[in-house]
Symmetry: C2
Subunit: 219 residues, 2 copies
Amino acid sequence: MVTSQVVNTYPLSSYTFGTKEPKMEKDTSVADRLARMKVNYMKEGMRTSVEGILLVQEHNHPHILLLQIGNTFCKLPGGRLKPGENGMIFTWVLFFIFLPLIQFTEIDGLKRKLSSKLAANSPSLQPDWQVGECVAIWWRPNFETIMYPYCPPHITKPKECKKLFVVHLSEREYFAVPKNLKLLAVPLFELYDNVQRYGPVISTIPQQLSRFQFNMIHP
Amino acid sequence: MVTSQVVNTYPLSSYTFGTKEPKMEKDTSVADRLARMKVNYMKEGMRTSVEGILLVQEHNHPHILLLQIGNTFCKLPGGRLKPGENGMIFTWVLFFIFLPLIQFTEIDGLKRKLSSKLAANSPSLQPDWQVGECVAIWWRPNFETIMYPYCPPHITKPKECKKLFVVHLSEREYFAVPKNLKLLAVPLFELYDNVQRYGPVISTIPQQLSRFQFNMIHP
């Protein structure tokens, strides 16, 4: 895990983009998604998901990579951890002792998800995912779409915990984008104050990243 | 400087509050404030201000301490650094070398400002200000009220840089609040998504703090 206040960013043109087989959404509607979440919760308890903020630059301004589904909905690359990957088999007392271990498994889970969404199928073409700091944690108190950047008072059994991590990209990488998705580089100034288009989680990424210093590298 | 993902919070009732002489605002209108900012910019260059996020708890939910002026406007305790306190006498190359030193002077400046706003006049009653991580940086591109959580593209001479730091409070402290101000403990759920009441900087503090784990201590 990389913990640094400085994030090196390279131009979008440093990276090469190909395509791969489609990765279809598991659900065709929000209602289906929430219903599946409920079934999984009964089996496995709270869902933990991890998402990566991949940074590039254009015109000396940081951009993040978003996956676009259809013409409107955008999401960060990432997804749900497998049971056990979030380390929640430990009790809370052990939680503090094993905190580094839990972060390790979460980060491994994020790397697995990033490869599933953005890496070519060949093992030799896997990007060097350098996962950095966790910059935000969002909580879903109920089987509903609304999430909060804190666990609301009186909620003892949240249904999902979503963690966002900075991912430090190397100077050159090959990304394979599923054919049903588009990969967009969106500038911070487009995300900022744009909850209508990007939702509450993605639209406040500029605030989460504001404490970092972006080192714009022009190879 | 304290860097920890865990923030111990104590009940509001742990703290004792008194009053002290009024600390009047230097300006009586937004226009006056921006005009004074312009004059200072000509003399001293970019303004750097530092503000503290002081955390307490009520009903197992984190609250932050805000100073209220009149009946509406709320602000974080803090203020403008003195010229030199922001370390900008260094050139940019030296900036990287002296980064720890600059943070040191910024943190000293924040402690000075916190004492000016919230400490009793007696040196023996100074709170133990344990300044933690910088959680957000906001930029003012022009002599206007609008600020952004990044330096906007094409802005080479921002007029102000405002840094927000977590402040870890000890279990017991005595705060002296200027008579013209009220000190409020505002829950994160009240700040969240409430830009109308608290403005863009304070209303996104819950997102900035979401990655921290709050350890609610009940003495």
